[in-house]
């Protein structure tokens, strides 16, 4: 591609920390964001979340995030937790891309695409509780507008004056990757000059209840007593998901556009495509090898060989099998030093976590290293890969959806050493 699409800004609010560089440092150090929530946790800030810790075990709770440090809009007091995470991540990304404040012509040509699987769960539960308890007339006018899936995208547009296309997409476990692919489409068709691709989801009691009911939750994610019961009744367990939450955002633009603005890039996107393979309704494709073949065919694009894979394994047998099949196909093709990270092991699983995977892939290319990963007990699963040239983000969801995103290293200066960035933290 003569004028590739490049990543010029990143932002993240997730269990590994707040801010792209803080998240990268924790990721590179192999830290885990899976933890139990404590009574003094900032996640329990009054008015933001009321999920009592006693009802939840270990999960990928967001840490170190203080919304007021990131959001300037007076709409902050109306924003739900999901919206706060997203708006902060999007602001970080635009700030990192040196676009703020957006000029009038650029704000008209700047789009936002947000992926989310469930959106604002906590307030949905609160709203329904009240309606069921007190009757249909008890609907709360201040909560209701926040219950639509695109509420967070709307708040982000208000915060930063993003007047271009504003799209929110859902694709189950691949919602983040689907947002990236849609953002690339918008840029490619000329619908915008700059686009922020983002993903957000939160942990909510409705989702936890449902996952527990369907026996898909990892026993560690349940309160101690229920977890112990679940371990004893292991036979009935059908999955081992550790839920997580967070938001991540990437600013994308054409390389020529970034150059004209004097901004260096983290990486380029060589391909971001949505396709599918036959699968049962609401389920994952049963043939992981065939799914891997289809995914790699969708990812095919001229350029260097894939150096590493940012996988989406999340504790569901079928989903984990896809990552294994992709690795098997790629190593079978002779990529001896292939790297692999299953980042959801460190942050928990949420529908739009793929956006965080994209942030990590872009930063790995920029930092010239894809960290290795162990199994949590010190045994190496995969080695670190130095000087990676191309990374594959494996997006896949129930219903047979496949969304590979291919990131390439760019030739310019590393953003870690770039002086163009206004971001306060460094790599």
């Amino acid at each position: 591609m003569s004028d590739p699409i490049v990543v010029t800004g990143i932002g993240a609010v997730c269990p590994l920390g707040t801010g792209g560089r803080a998240v990268w440092r924790a990721f590179a150090a192999g830290e885990s964001g899976i933890r139990a929530l404590e009574a003094t946790d900032e996640r329990l800030e009054r008015g933001v979340d009321v999920t009592p810790p006693a009802e939840v075990g270990r999960a990928g709770w967001v840490r170190g995030f203080r919304p007021r440090e990131h959001i300037v809009s007076p709409q902050l007091r109306r924003m739900d937790w999901c919206s706060r995470m997203l708006v902060a991540a999007v602001r970080q990304a635009f700030d990192d891309a040196v676009t703020l404040p957006l000029s009038e012509p650029l704000s008209l040509r700047t789009a936002l695409v947000v992926g989310s699987c469930f959106g604002n769960q906590r307030e949905t539960a609160v709203y329904l509780q009240r309606v069921f308890a007190a009757g249909p007339g008890a609907g709360q006018p201040l909560l209701f507008p926040n219950l639509v899936l695109n509420a967070a995208a709307g708040y982000a547009a208000i915060e930063l004056d993003l007047q271009g296309p504003n799209v929110c997409v859902a694709e189950h476990e691949a919602s983040g990757e689907a947002a990236l692919a849609t953002a690339v489409d918008l840029l490619s068709t000329g619908a915008c000059d700059v686009v922020c691709a983002a993903g957000v989801d939160e942990i909510g009691s409705l989702q936890l209840d449902a996952l527990a009911d369907l026996r898909l939750l990892h026993p560690d994610a349940l309160p101690a007593e229920r977890g112990a019961r679940a371990r004893r009744a292991h036979r009935g367990q059908r999955g081992a998901i550790i839920p997580g939450e967070g938001a991540a955002a990437l600013v994308l633009e054409r390389a020529s556009h970034a150059r004209a603005r004097g901004v260096a890039s983290y990486a380029s996107i060589a391909a971001a495509r949505i396709g599918a393979i036959a699968a049962p309704p609401y389920g994952f494709a049963r043939d992981a090898a065939a799914a891997a073949d289809r995914l790699l065919a969708l990812a095919e694009t001229p350029g260097p060989a894939i150096s590493g894979v940012v996988g989406g394994a999340n504790g569901l047998a079928a989903r984990d099998a896809l990552d294994r099949a992709v690795l098997h196909r790629l190593t079978g093709a002779g990529a001896a030093t292939l790297g692999y990270v299953a980042f959801r092991r460190l942050v928990g699983d949420w529908g739009a976590a793929g956006a965080l995977g994209a942030v990590l892939a872009a930063m790995a290319l920029d930092a010239r290293v894809l960290p290795g990963q162990d199994d949590g007990t010190g045994n190496a699963i995969s080695p670190a890969v130095h000087d990676p040239q191309r990374l594959l983000l494996v997006g896949a969801a129930r219903g047979g959806v496949l969304v590979p995103v291919v990131f390439d290293r760019t030739t310019g200066p590393s953003r870690c050493s770039s002086t163009a960035s206004t971001s306060s933290s460094s790599c």
Binding site: F144, P145, A151, G154, Y155, A157, I158, A170, P281
Partner: protein, 410 residues
């Protein structure tokens, strides 16, 4: 590189399917558009005791969908079933036969604002009362807004691009816009696209709490309008590359000429004071279609019947169409079938295709006294013959989301 309008593939509509309060077919919708009676009536789907509003455009007849996969028979939500009923009709009309010869070239884009929320509510109610989740648990698989698109794809074996836009009331329109972009970029030859939404307690009580609903069938653009009437249903269109359609001898119903997306970036629910987002969406749609404002003969308005929307939309149309706004026929078909939320943009695009083909401007019902702030031709109460070259269909949603579509006579 940005698309070149002169060389990009033209996108055409070759099939339409709809299920609405008017009935489970496009024929029923067409009859409603040609009639003068609203399909909005008493709501029976759930309890509305204690509310001031008890009416909606409820789907009374939900026929079984032959394409419903066996594995989804218990799990499929009401929204899922709407989507499949509309899909079957659209496919039949398009002349496409299953299985597809190249399923990887067939995409699916179906928007929804609440997906399986109606069934999720039942599940949650049981949990709250500490009753066993029982059968309601099986519906959780279809709880997300991505479920209708997934089921449509599974039903027809589509393996091309797939997307489930969820942008509140513009979801269906944005699904159509994304579908067209896939065809133009060469990612797909055919895309089954549209929107589906069922009435839910959450949306009904929510709009009621916002005091945005009317206790009588909505009266868009009327001085005495009191708010919207909710509805439910699905609209599915088969969009196709023109060359692909011609190659297989398909009947072309209309050209999907262009789309414009924008965001107000000003308020979570209220339109911008100067309708800037609506103006940008209209301008972008016309630009995308390569259309001049004088080419537009009909507008299917968002026309919810709320005070702010109708005046704001009128302002935007006047701003963009200029002097042509005065001669353009505008109607809000929400007065006939209600506001279908995530399905509205798709069903209204279908109404627009019908209008183009029938050379007919559908009416805006219950328009007795025009609001001075709404001073255009809204085709009050009775439809009329109209030669339509090109038409606009507007959809606006929470979050300041705007999408305008341009459909053109084939």
């Amino acid at each position: 590189m940005p698309e070149n309008r002169s060389t990009r593939p033209r996108v055409v509509v070759t099939g339409i399917g709809a299920i609405t309060a008017a009935g489970p077919t496009v024929a029923a919708l067409r009859a409603a558009l040609h009639g003068e009676a609203t399909c909005i009536g008493p709501l029976t789907l759930f309890d509305t005791e204690g509310l001031k509003v008890h009416i909606a455009g409820e789907v009374r007849e939900l026929p079984p969908a032959g394409l419903l996969p066996r594995a989804a028979r218990v799990r499929a939500s009401r929204s899922d079933r709407f989507a499949l009923v509309a899909l079957e009709e659209a496919l039949r009309g398009s002349g496409l036969r299953l299985p597809f010869t190249d399923p990887a070239r067939v995409g699916v884009a179906v928007g929804s604002s609440t997906g399986g929320m109606l069934e999720t509510e039942a599940y949650y109610q049981r949990r709250l009362t500490r009753r066993p989740a029982g059968a309601s648990r099986t519906c959780l698989a279809a709880a997300t807004v991505a479920a209708p698109a997934g089921l449509v794809a599974a039903a027809i074996g589509a393996l091309g691009p797939r997307l489930s836009p969820s942008t509140a009331c513009s979801s269906g329109a944005i699904a159509l816009a994304m579908a067209a972009s896939w065809i133009r970029s060469g990612a797909a030859d055919v895309v089954v696209a549209g929107g589906s939404d069922a009435l839910t307690r959450m949306t009904f009580t929510g709009f009621h709490a916002l005091q945005a609903m009317s206790s009588e069938p909505c009266r868009p653009f009327d001085l005495q309008r009191r708010g919207l009437s909710l509805g439910e249903g699905a609209g599915i269109l088969v969009l196709e590359a023109e060359e692909h359609a011609h190659r297989r001898g398909a009947t072309v119903l209309a050209e999907f000429a262009g789309a414009g997306l924008s965001c107000d970036a000003s308020h979570p629910t209220a339109p911008h004071a100067e309708a800037r987002g609506a103006v940008h969406a209209l301008q972008r749609a016309l630009h995308d279609a390569g259309a001049d404002s004088h080419e537009i003969d009909y507008v299917n308005a968002h026309g919810t019947g709320t005070v702010h929307n109708d005046a704001s939309e009128t302002f935007a149309l006047k701003r963009v169409l200029g002097e042509a706004a005065g001669r353009v026929a505008i109607s809000s078909t929400k007065s006939l079938i209600g506001h279908l939320l995530g399905a509205a943009g798709a069903v209204e695009a279908i109404a627009t295709v019908i209008a183009i083909n029938d050379r007919y401007a559908p009416p805006t019902l219950h328009l007795r006294e025009r609001d001075p702030a709404c001073d255009l031709d809204y085709v009050p109460n009775r439809g009329r013959p109209l030669e339509i070259r090109s038409a606009l269909s507007n959809s606006y949603g929470f979050g300041g989301n705007n999408c305008s579509l341009v459909l053109r006579r084939a």
